[in-house]
């Protein structure tokens, strides 16, 4: 099997608003796939549907061969929410060790995840006393530990300094090299070039599902930011 995620005709409504309009896409195994689009385009909703916490109106999602959100997937999928979801009244290490224990990993695995996100020095600090960027890294540590088969990361690099961002992207590629599938959302186009595949989404519909170079070629520009703009205009005109 080559695809990790298969989304078929997915329709999601939040309140009275339709957020995803019959979206279909596949995400290959062992790749880093970028989910890009402006805020409010439906990125988070699609990710929530893939990890199985979103009520969907219709359509199907298969993740690693199982229906999204089914029990066997819960030990194989790591999920990073957009807002840091760790306990502010625990230290970084206590948070990491708690989430590690839910997956059955030991304390050493938790400590390694903390080091991987560059928080080793702050591991005994309460999350409430961390900066915003550190807090989202603490949250990231709890998602990446134990090398899950699928990592769904909602804007993991927002507010991080460039050196650290670079390191995080290297780690995502390392994990993918070991066979993990990584889905990363971002609204920063300069990160799109770091992905092996791109899903461009706007107003709940897919406008591109391709490699970065193919997207550049189709739009006729090397600048992904400009490419995205041209694809949108082409779609609006059509």
């Amino acid at each position: 099997m080559t695809s990790a995620i298969e989304v078929q005709d997915l329709i999601v409504e939040r309140g009275k608003r339709r957020v995803l309009h019959g979206l279909t896409c596949t995400i290959p195994r062992g790749s880093v796939t970028g989910l890009l689009g402006p805020s409010g385009s439906g990125k988070t909703t699609l990710m929530r549907a893939i990890v199985g916490v979103q009520v969907v109106a219709s359509g199907s999602i298969t993740v690693l061969g199982e229906p999204a959100g089914s029990a066997p997937l819960r030990s194989k999928v790591g999920y990073l929410t957009q807002a840091p979801s760790v306990y502010a009244d625990l230290t970084v290490r206590e948070n990491a060790r708690y989430f590690a224990s839910l997956y059955g990993y030991d304390a050493a695995t938790a400590d390694r995840a903390i080091a991987d996100v560059g928080l080793a020095k702050a591991s005994r600090q309460l999350v409430a006393t961390l900066s915003g960027g550190q807090r989202s890294r603490a949250s990231l540590a709890c998602a990446i530990m134990g090398e899950p088969e699928l990592l769904v990361l909602d804007e993991p690099t927002v507010g991080q300094d460039p050196v650290l961002r670079d390191e995080l992207w290297k780690q995502f590629h390392d994990l993918a090299g070991k066979g993990a599938t990584i889905l990363v959302s971002s609204h920063v186009m300069d990160e799109a070039g770091r992905c092996e595949r791109l899903l461009l989404i706007r107003e709940g519909a897919l406008i591109a599902d391709d490699t970065p170079s193919a997207v550049r070629e189709r739009a006729g520009t090397d600048d992904l930011d400009e490419a995205f703009l041209r694809l949108i205009r082409a779609q609006v005109a059509a």
Binding site: G52, V53, Q54, V55, G69, V77, S85, E94, F99, S101
Partner: protein, 245 residues
Amino acid sequence: MSFRILGATIVRILRQLLHDPRTIAMLIVVPALLLTLVYFMYDDQPAVFDRIALVMLGVFPFVIMFLVTSIAMLRERTTGTLERLLTTPLGKLDLLFGYGVAFGLAAAVQASVAAGLAYWLFDLDTAGSTWLVILIAVINAVLGVALGLFCSAFARTEFQAVQFMPVVAVPQILLCGLFVSREQMAGWLEAISNVLPLSYAVEALQQVGANTDPTATLWRDIAVVSGCVVVALVLAAATLRRRTA
């Protein structure tokens, strides 16, 4: 349910509590202060003090643990940790029992300190055993936790959550037989009090106060309150949805 995950969840909740020494201090000191107040209010009426202090020992953990749990669970919902937990192998019962056990332990400490003070310093006099009083206090606390877990599902904000306290706790306290004995109430009030769990908790305490040995009524009351705990936990589990809109 998994004992590893349940254990880790209990430890996690207790660690959160340990990082908040002011809350711990208030959990322990406030009941003691209020007992002191009642002691001096009924300085020359030891029988009245015995009656009120005994009921306070049982009702206090219920009210406090209801509030603490509603807020704790609401925080899990609003900070996104609940959504995250539900994508992990954690089962709903691991989380609910985790809160029940962790706050039950906290209530055991609270009730022991309050009972110790009442019995040794203020000469509280009950025919039955102190341990039964503490046992009933802990069961009441777990009832408070279970109802708190359930009610938190109906609050969107902390402001709403704290206002469930007067809705859930005050009618039970008014009708539990502390102010007016239940037999003397109007029939419809007595009928309401018959379906409120705290009425049975207070009756159990009064049984310990009046009888040297545990009575059949006492065990029945404890069974009723424990049954209510189970029902509230099942209802709370029904409010925990993995998928939300």
